[in-house]
Symmetry: C2
Subunit: 189 residues, 2 copies
């Protein structure tokens, strides 16, 4: 479970309330890396506080509590990031799944889906380029927090766009009559 580390990472940038963290998940982190709703976030903050990895540093209006990461929390985050990913399965990527299943469609349908993927990738790349242009600065301190990630996302989108274009080209090169199931039966999924 990565939610506690996502929270530690956000709090490592600056202290924030559960509500502010929820917005961060909705608007940036959650759109690209890890989504969580407030009903997951609030209890998790409580657990992190019990473990001494975060602490309440201020209480504001409407019962808001500002959390900050402790030294122990920073250590935990650091060791999690430095420990080998382990990657223990758990892959759940619906977009990639769609690409895997694309060949189950006839070429006309596949072209439709690929065209949509290419358009989405272009839109995503444009959005990130805009964000990057609005937030210039060095790769250090608070401002740098999203710079590496933004560049990463941009390159991913570009790669998806190029792949979709390539795939459309591959599909377009063959006539409908080229479709045959006679190929190597020892397929890979």
């Amino acid at each position: 479970m990565s939610l506690p580390h996502a929270l530690l990472g956000l709090l490592a940038v600056e202290p924030a309330s559960g509500y502010a963290l929820t917005k961060a998940f909705d608007e940036s982190l959650g759109r690209y890396a890890w989504y969580a709703g407030h009903t997951s976030i609030y209890p998790e903050l409580g657990r992190l506080a019990e473990r001494g990895l975060v602490e309440v540093t201020a209480e504001g209006p409407r019962g808001s509590r500002t959390y900050a990461v402790t030294d122990a929390g920073r250590d935990e985050l650091r060791s999690w990031l430095l420990t080998r990913p382990s990657e223990a399965g758990k892959v759940r990527n619906e977009s990639v799944l769609r690409m895997f299943l694309l060949s189950a469609l006839d070429p006309a349908d596949a072209r439709t889906v690929l065209t949509g993927i290419a358009a989405d990738a272009r839109a995503g790349a444009d959005e990130l380029r805009t964000i990057r242009a609005d937030h210039p600065g060095p790769l250090t301190g608070r401002n740098g927090f999203g710079q590496l990630a933004a560049e990463f996302g941009l390159r991913q989108y570009e790669a998806v766009h190029e792949w979709a274009t390539w795939a459309l080209d591959q599909l377009g090169a063959q006539t409908p009559d080229d479709r045959t199931d006679a190929a190597d039966p020892a397929h890979t999924f």
Copy 2:
């Protein structure tokens, strides 16, 4: 939930038992797109059968049941793939999360992590290149099922590798004394 569609997609290639599907998840689909264990797969096959999207076409030794997708199942898969992704949040990608949190580390630690990411990406790309070389063939029929996906994965790995190299270069260009929190406080995550 994408598991039913993943199963329909695999069965659209060829009928298989729950056990064979479990292996497919362990070895190919589950490593890149969507993971599921047999305790999820067997009940889901039962539900799909109840809905008439798959059917048992053969029973073998040890009580094994071979499932095949029905016409209704193919229709369901097709409409799912053609329907707009919706993308309804639900992003859960631990690797991307790690990249997001990278800036919470000091440059030396960040370099360590990035070096590991670059090595992993290179290894993943090499593995896919080997798989692709072992399974040549046209982008049609059963053999084509994994060709688009393999090319996609390869390009993703290459993009990750190039990004990590770029990021290392960015970090390396600055001396430790460059670290400052004086940058734009109106950061983006």
